[in-house]
Symmetry: C2
Subunit: 151 residues, 2 copies
Amino acid sequence: MISYPELLEKFKDLLKCNSLKFTKQRELILKFLYENEDHYTPEDIYMLLKQQHPDINIGIATVYRTLTLLEESKIVSSISFGIQGKKYELGLKKHHDHLICTKCGDIIEFYDETIEKRQEAIAEKFNFKMTGHTMKIEGICEDCQEEALEE
Amino acid sequence: MISYPELLEKFKDLLKCNSLKFTKQRELILKFLYENEDHYTPEDIYMLLKQQHPDINIGIATVYRTLTLLEESKIVSSISFGIQGKKYELGLKKHHDHLICTKCGDIIEFYDETIEKRQEAIAEKFNFKMTGHTMKIEGICEDCQEEALEE
DNA sequence: CTTGATGCAAAGCATTTGCACCACA
DNA sequence: TGTGGTGCAAATGCTTTGCATCAAG
């Protein structure tokens, strides 16, 4: 896994190459996603950053703008859930898919070589030039099943 | 594949069991999805129905309400795309997944036994009680690739 | 007749945009 | 210093809701 200073450097380079500026807000968002390996909505990130850094001013619009920028640069990735909206996570780890508990919203990541291979084969079969793929398994997680039994 | 009269009967039963009413609007939407085996946004359905049946009054709210009802009843299913929004299709056929062309928006359906099996195995491994699963492969379809070459 | 359904317009909600001001480079 | 970034508030776009009226049972 890439270290934070490395990631920061990568981000700064990317900004420089596109004559964009490095700002406190952009760094905060990047750092937040690096330090919190989970899935967050833009709103989540906005609220938590405001809370953790009362000294720094940040607007929700900047969070949206930065997340879009980071996603285009392949530094973060997003998945969208029905009601829960779109959530972002650092996108530097190996490609993976998600198990989502529809009761508590918990997200479990997994990687399955067989599925990856089949996806490639299917894209090829239809002469599709694959640019991305997502898989979501929805269900009830272990904990929520137990809770249901207790009731 | 189920015939339309059968489907209609099934829908009517379902309404009766829940003391809901059978209306022209509900039938129109069901019929539309039966006759047009494709993926539509609520807006699409609303516009096309108004166009095809200028005599019958229908509001966008009713389309949303009916689609929600049909989806809860497992008669239709939906997939959501990034910018293109949520699209509905008749959900009575065998479970399948989608290839989506990010250029022209075309959707190709496919079914892969290996992937289905692996998904079940994964859910089991994490003690997840699977209630649903979706897979989307994004890319550029054959036609759009050719177009790109011509430019 | 009773109850649920409908259309309309208003309200919601997440996301985007315009703009004057601010801060990197 | 100039250019791009920011926060704010207004605007947008999709979806839901409240309500008076309508129609199915």
